[in-house]
Symmetry: D2
Subunit: 290 residues, 4 copies
C-alpha cells in the first residue's frame, strides 16, 4: 500500500520502520528532516512538505499534540487539499474536539478521517506490539487493517465516530495516572509502618492486582528508575489535563484526575518534570517526610 507518515519522533520512527519492513511504499515527513534519515536509508521517500505526503492511500500522523495536528491539517489547509477517498489516520493522543473538527474538514474534502491512538512505549512500537484503538468508517478501518497488523498486536474497534477512540485512550491514560498516584500513597503508608516497597509490591502483583501496569510502574518506583524517562512527568501532565478538559467538555466530575493534576504540577515545580511520571510516587513519599 502507498502510505505516508507525518511525525517521525520517538513513537513515529519505529512505527514507520515496521511499515517499511512489511513492504509498504512509504513517504515520510518530519518538520526536522534529519529525523527521517534512517527511514530514507531503509527505502522511504522523503516528502519536503506536508502536501508532498498526499499522494498515498493512507496518510498517518503521529504528532505531539492537538496544536501540531491542527497546524498541519487545519490551519495550513492539508485537509482541504487532500484528494477525495484518501484516509487520514491519526494515531496520536489527541482531544475529542480536534476529532470533531477533523471529521468535519475531511467530510468537506470527501476524504476520510480515522482516529487510532495506541497503547505502548517506543520499545513496543519497535516490536510491533502496540495495542491500537481504532474508530472510523468500517471500510476505512478495513483498509487500515494491514497497517495495524504491522504495527500492533491487537486492534480494538470502538465505532464509526473517530472521537470515541480518543476518549478510550484519554480515559485509559488517566487510569495509568491513578495507578501511580495510588501506588505512591500506599507505598508511603507501608514504608512508614516498616514494610519495604518491594515486599508490598510483590504481594500486590502476586494477588489480585497482578497487572503489567502495577508490575512495571511498581518496579520503576522500587528501583527509583526514573531516568531516562520513558514517559515524562510533563507529558503525563499533558495527558491528565487532556482528561480534565474532556471531562469539562462532557460535564463529568473527575476528582481523581483533579487531584493528580495538582500533585503532578507540584512535582514539576519541585523539579521532577523531566523524570518518568512514575517519579510522582517518589514525590508523594517526600510529601510524607520519607
Amino acid at each position: 500500500m502507498k502510505v505516508s507518515f507525518i511525525g517521525i519522533g520517538q513513537m513515529g520512527a519505529p512505527m514507520a520502520m515496521r511499515l517499511i519492513d512489511a513492504g509498504h511504499e512509504l513517504t515520510v515527513y518530519n518538520r526536522t528532516a534529519s529525523a527521517t534519515q534512517a527511514l530514507v536509508q531503509r527505502g522511504a521517500r522523503q516528502a519536503l512538505t506536508p502536501t508532498d505526503t498526499l499522494n498515498a492511500d493512507v496518510v498517518i500522523t503521529m504528532l505531539a499534540d492537538d496544536s501540531a495536528v491542527r497546524a498541519i491539517w487545519l490551519d495550513s489547509g492539508l485537509a482541504q487539499s487532500v484528494p477525495a477517498g484518501r484516509v487520514h489516520l491519526n494515531m496520536a493522543t489527541t482531544g475529542l474536539g480536534l476529532a470533531h473538527e477533523l471529521l468535519a474538514a475531511h467530510a468537506l474534502s470527501g476524504s476520510i478521517y480515522v482516529s487510532a491512538p495506541v497503547f505502548g512505549r517506543p520499545s513496543a512500537a519497535e516490536q510491533g506490539q502496540l495495542d491500537i484503538i481504532a474508530a472510523g468508517p468500517a471500510n476505512a478501518l478495513q483498509q487500515c487493517r494491514p497497517l495495524f497488523e504491522s504495527m500492533g498486536k491487537q486492534v480494538f474497534e470502538v465505532g464509526q465516530e473517530p472521537h470515541k477512540s480518543n476518549a478510550v485512550k484519554i480515559a485509559r491514560n488517566f487510569l495509568l495516572a491513578t495507578v501511580i498516584e495510588s501506588l505512591g500513597e500506599s507505598f508511603a503508608l507501608v514504608r512508614k509502618a516498616g514494610v519495604s516497597e518491594a515486599d508490598f509490591l510483590n504481594i500486590l502483583t502476586s494477588t489480585s492486582l497482578s497487572a503489567p501496569v502495577y508490575r512495571n510502574y511498581g518496579k520503576m518506583i522500587v528501583d527509583k528508575a526514573f531516568e531516562p524517562a520513558a514517559f515524562s512527568m510533563e507529558l503525563g501532565l499533558k495527558d491528565v489535563e487532556l482528561a480534565l478538559s474532556t471531562a469539562s467538555d462532557l460535564g463529568v466530575p473527575m476528582p481523581s484526575a483533579s487531584l493528580i493534576r495538582d500533585q503532578i504540577t507540584a512535582a514539576i515545580a519541585a523539579g521532577h518534570g523531566k523524570q518518568d511520571w512514575a517519579a510522582l510516587a517518589q514525590f508523594i513519599a517526600k510529601r510524607a517526610g520519607l
Copy 2:
C-alpha cells in the same frame, strides 16, 4: 493441632470448616451461638465463653473490627489469662494501634501474638484460596503454617512485628478502593463520549490493566450486580477510614483515600450503603448526570 476459632461469620465459618476438614481438633466460639451449628455438626467442640477457647495451641480470631477484638482480648482480660506459649492468631482487618496493644498484652502473659489478615471473599475462603499476609515471631509463624495451608493458597510473611501485616492489608484495600473510584470516573467519561463501559472494560483488561481486580469490579459495574453485596459500601467506608486513621497516625498524606472517603460517605447518604462497594461507580455516573 488443637485450634480454637472465635468469630464464626461470613469469612470465619468457611475458614473454620477448612480446618475441621484438614483434621484439626477445633473449638469454636461465637457471640451468637447458633452460627456455630454447622461446625459443631461437623465435629467442632462449642465453647460457651471466650475463656473456654484457651485450651488450644492456637486461638484464631476473625472478628468484625478493632473494638470486637479489644472487647474480648483486652477489656475482658483474655490476653491476661491465656497460658504462656499459646498463639493468638488474628486474621481480621484491624488497625496498627490494636496490634501494638495486643503485642504488649501477650508479652505480659508470655503468649504470642500473630497477625495474619487475608485477601479474598467468602467463596475463596470456602475453597481454601485465601491469600494470607502474616507477621509475628518466626517460630509462631512456622507453627501456624499447617493452618495457613488449610485456609489459603499463598502466605506472605512480612516480618516479626504483627502490625506490619495489618499495614499491608490496609494499604492494599485502599488500592482496591482506588480501582473502583477510578473505574467509575473513567467509565463516566467514556460513556459520555458514546463508548460502552463493556467495550472499554474489555480493552482495559485485554491490555496492561489485565488484573483480576479490574476484571471483577469492572464486570460488577457493567452488570450493575451490586446486590447481594460481597463487600458492602459500609464495610468499604470502614476500611478507607482505617487507612486514613493509619495515615494520620503515621503522618502520611493520602489524598486519594480522603477523596474516596467523601465519595463513599455521599454514596451512603444517597442510599447505597448496603450495596457492594463497587456501586460507588454507579454513584459516580449519577454525579455526572448519567
Copy 3:
C-alpha cells in the same frame, strides 16, 4: 470625554448609563442592537459596527468571555485599525493569555490596552459602587480615572502590565467560590448536629468572619434564594475554570479550585446550572443526605 462602550449586558448597561449621567459623550455597540435602546434614549449614539466605536478617546469593552473579546478585537481586526493613542479599556473577567495577546496587538497599532475588571453585581453597577482593579500604563490609567469615578467607589491600581488586574480578579473570584463551598460543608455539619444554619451564620458574621461575602452568600443559602441568579452556577464554573487554566499556565497547584470545579460540575449535572452559584451549598447539603 468621548467614550465608546461595547457589550451592553447585565453589567454593561448600568455602567454605560453611569457614564452618560456623568456627562460623557457615549457611543454604544451591542451585537443585539435592541439592548442599547434605553441608552440611546438617554442620549447615547448607536454604533452599527464595532469599527464605528473607534472615534473615541476610550473604548470600553464589557463582553461575556475571552472568545467574545478575541472575536471583535483580534479576529475581526479592531486592534489593528484602532488609531494610535486611543485606549482600549477591557472591564470584563478575562484571562491572562488574552491580556498578553491584546497588549501585543495594541502595541503594533500604537494604541493602549488597559485591563480593569470589576467586583460587584448589577445593582452595584447601577449605583456606581463597583470596585475596580486597574492595570495599564500610568498615563492611560490617569486618563480613565474620571470614568472609573463614575462607575466605581474604589479603584485599585496594580501595575503597568494589564494581565495583573486579571490575575487579581480571577484569584478573588476563586476565593468567593471557596466561601460558598466551605459554608456549604460547614452548614451541613452543624445542621446534622441539630444547629440551624441561620444561628450558625449569625455567629460567624458576628465574630471574625464578619465580611459582606459571608453575610450575603450565607443569607442566600439560609433563605434558599437562588433564583433569579445574580451570578449563575454556569458562570461560576466558567470563573473556576479560568482560575484553573491560569493555575495551569503558571504552574500553581490549586486543589481547592479543583475540588470546587468537580462539585460545580456535579451540581450542574444535577440541574442547578441556572441557579445562583450559592446553590452549591444546597447541593452539598443534599450530598450529606439532608
Copy 4:
C-alpha cells in the same frame, strides 16, 4: 460565686485571672501545679486533686483535648462524685461524642453539663474579649452568665444540648482553615502573575472579604510572622481531624476538610509543625515553586 477552674494553660490562665478580678471565689487545679502560681498569688485557692475542685457552684474545665477531659471526668470518676446540682462548664474545643458521654454521666449524678467553647486567642482571653458559644439547660446557662460576662464580649446560646456548641466551634474552626488554605492558593496564583501578596490582600480586605480573619491571617502570611505560633499547625491538624471525625460520625462529606488535612499533614512532615497554622500558606507557595 464559688468557681473552680481545671486546666491553667495558655487560654485557661488569663480566663481564670479574669474571674478572680471579677470578684469570684476561685479554686484552681492544674496537673503541673506550678502553672497556678500567679493565680494563687492573686488570691486563688489551689486544689491538690481534681476532687478538691468539686466544692464550687461551677467547675470550669479548659483542657487540651477529649482524652484529657475523659481522663479526669469519666475514667477517674469525677462526674460520678460531683454533688447534685453543680455545673460542669467545659470551655475547650472537644468532640460531640464526649459531650454525649458527659451529658449521660452528669445526668446520673444529678449534676449539670454545659458546653461553652470559645473563639479567640490568649490575648483576647486576657482582655475578656472572647466569643463564647454556649449550650446547656437554660437555668444553668443563666447561672453561668456572670462568668461569661467576665471572660467574653459576646455569648451565643445555641440550645439545650451541650454538643451543639461543640459542633459550632468545630465547624467554625474548619472555616478558619479554609481561609488559610484558600489565601495560600490565591496568593501563589497572583504572585506568579507578578502581583504582590500585600497588594492583593489590601484589595481583598478593602472589598467584600473585609473580615478580621482575612486581615489577620493575611497579614501573618505577608509578614511571614509564623513564630511564635499563636495557634500551631499541630493544633490546627487536631482541629481539622476533629471536624473530619465529626463529619464521619454524622455522615457528612467534607472534601475541603479532607484536602486541608492532607496539606497540613504534608506541611508538618516538611517541618512546619510548630509554626502558626497560617504557615500553611507558605507551604502552599513552596508547592508552587515559589
